[in-house]
Amino acid sequence: MLKVIGGFFLGLIVIGVLAYTYAGSLMFREIESPFGVEETVARIQQNIQNTGNGWALSGLRNPGKAVQNDGGNVLPVMMVEACSTKYSAPILKDDAVRFLSILMPCKVSVYKKNDGKTYIGMMNAGLMGKMFGPMVGEVMGHVAEDQAKFVQFDASKPAPEMIKGMPGAATGAAGGAAAGGC
Amino acid sequence: MAAEKIYVFKRFERFWHWSQALLIICMLITGFEVHGSYSLFGFEHAVSYHTVLAWSLVTLWVFAIFWHLTTGEWKQYIPTTDKVVAMMRFYSVGIFKGEPHPYRPTKLKKHNPLQRIAYLGVLLFIGPLLWLTGWFYLFYGDWAVWGVNGFLSLEWVAFFHTVGAFMMLTFLIAHLYLTTTGHTPTAHIKAMVTGWEEVD
């Protein structure tokens, strides 16, 4: 009996350790980019504008700039922010899951690491969505599908120009609904 | 079975043993990180912990050497050939057949002949090897001033330091195994905590 209980608890510990170790990598995804930081950002921005489904750019954040203003340095990191009211509206309407607004807008992070290569960091929207009921699960599933398109690059096309600032309202590229940069 | 108890390990000796054990285990953990075997605390922290531990161990050793010299306990480490063969036979064969231990510790001779040789080896070889190479490792920046720049290379100093570490680790594993070979698995360990060894 002691052995059974002992084994049970040992199993619990093992699972705990595994979960602790891998949970982070399940929630988020990191892929290597074949391009430099600026070009990766520009191509993702272009992809977002071409994805449809109401997606529009809502910002380009550069947290490194704040560090520089404080007199420090970090390797470049830029966050491409995108938004689609088609997906945000249902979640924002539901009191039970409105807190998920902290995940908005949808972000794709582009950064350089010490190996000199550029990486793309994204949230695993599909998996995360499943934790908050069927409605969110479905919406986030669509977001995940679109997100995958954001990082599909066609290297044969020339590098587009990086779009700075908050272009969502200005360009209104993919659907006027996004104007205002949700 | 009427167990007789003798007081083998004095208070300082026990303190020395356990604090040394702790320090050495920590040094092994941090040392192998500095070596590059894994990362745990991060290189920078591993180095600074390792250095602090090293100085702590040096301090402990200074006290221990003083204690051994003033109490005459150093004689416990004089090697002897008495019963060595019987001992080796016991650990390789007899122990698995439940034969009695051929050595009976006393207050004056608390270490069996194999222990004497092993501990003396640690004290006279592994220890000094680690101290010496560790010293040069730590004071790499002063080699030029000391004039040893020409015939020392950091690579070899590090290599022998690591060799010492592996020997210490080997000793530790063997030592841990043998502590469980008393008449009960924890008998020796208890003795090292309380100082009292049960002798049957």
Partner: protein, 519 residues
Amino acid sequence: MPARPKIILSVAAITAMLTALVAFALPAKPEAAPAPQAVATPKKQSDSTADHSKFKELQKNFKTGPEVTEACLICHTEAAKQVQHTKHWTWESKDPKTGQVRGKKNIINNYCTAVLSNEKDCMACHAGYGWKDSSFDFSVQKNVDCLVCHDNTGTYRKLPGDAGHPVYKRREFPPKSGKFVEAVDLKKAAQSIGMPSRTNCGACHFFGGGANGAKHGDMDSSLQHPGKYLDVHMNEKGLNFFCTECHATKSHEVSGSRYNTSAAMTGPAHIRGKADASPAACQSCHGDKPHPQKDALLNQHTDKLACQTCHIPEFARNDIGTEMSWDWSKATIMGPDGKRMVRKDSAGRRAFDSQKGAWVWESHVIPEYRWFNGTSTYKVIGDKIDPTRTVQLSVVGGGPNDPESRIWPTKVHRGKQPYDVENNYLTVQHTGGEDATALWHNYDWQKAIGTGMKAANLPYSGKFAFVETELTWPITHMVAPKEDALSCAQCHNKNGRLKDIQGVYMPARDGKHSSKKEG
């Protein structure tokens, strides 16, 4: 996700007692130093005893640069002679160790390649007037350009095409760009004379290679008004050093040339007091044991590492970036309409130009590290090459067993440029200008190389091809705040910054193969 350390950590939790002891031994974190208060000295007050605007020699409406110089020389009788001994004038430098004669005049690089036959353009950055071809007389004193370094109005401009003369007449530049460059008010410039500011040095050194930041990577216009993050010494709100603070100058000889780098200075700080030591080296102010006693371990690194290696973790730490490669083989490719085509990269930097080829730029560049003893050997015009392999246009000297060598951060600029297939040397090409053989005007390599090689007095077989080249330069500017220096594990790591550096044992990097061969 680094899984292994976490597992190890979990296991280690069992030995909590041990870790607790180690944690106890943790040395106290050094107290955060109070941030230096911003000293409001953006502009340096002149403490000169002479106000040049009051000199009667300068109350003149100068028509040309040489006229101004003649006025300067009335008082500063030795100035021109001094300048004429410097690289800023000769564009030539002889290596005291190897005897090789280098300098901008003689080398071939993989940016604009070579000066010969292109003097009219290149000499916009010559401290002189009128060097338009090999007939230039280097002994004429009035042709020394005092203003380019000493004008303090910030309005003095020299443009390509004028062989070093300033802009005398308002003109459109670049041609057909709609932008105009005003004529320089030479009288005002002459009366503003002062010590060289960052603007003076930067006018050439920030824009080398034909674009902001293109060439050096550790020098670009961001150093005009740098923040602390970019350069602790030049920080406008802090020390606010001008270039001349480190590049201390004597008799117009500016110290600290890349051609003879002081790569491994030893001994304590002497702050300019030691005549034979390079004032521009970090050690001249910081000594070779610059870290406080609590960080004594760091001082042990100075026998192998240059200061720059840890303290310039990346260069081009801004949006300007620097050029990483220049592919000349793409030049003369015209747009679909048969006309010159120009394209920019995602960050708005030049990426392609039918005149010049294709470029790749990068910001926040992680340096490549090399052993370096301060002596580089350059490819000079006419040097033989082996076209079957990448041609090293500069070979940084030294190695692990040389006590004069340190591991340095470098910028490696990669390129593709033409060479003479039969004679096996890199070609000189006539690129700039409006004449019948200029590459940027006619898009004809054969004509451009023909003219270039004639100017270089070298036979040309008539056959050329493109060869890959590398130019390696040490990095020394844009020193980051100490908090941003490389941390231990960035090198003490199997895949760290120095993973390719041979001949030095590094704990944690070399652990698994501790008995492998010594370099």
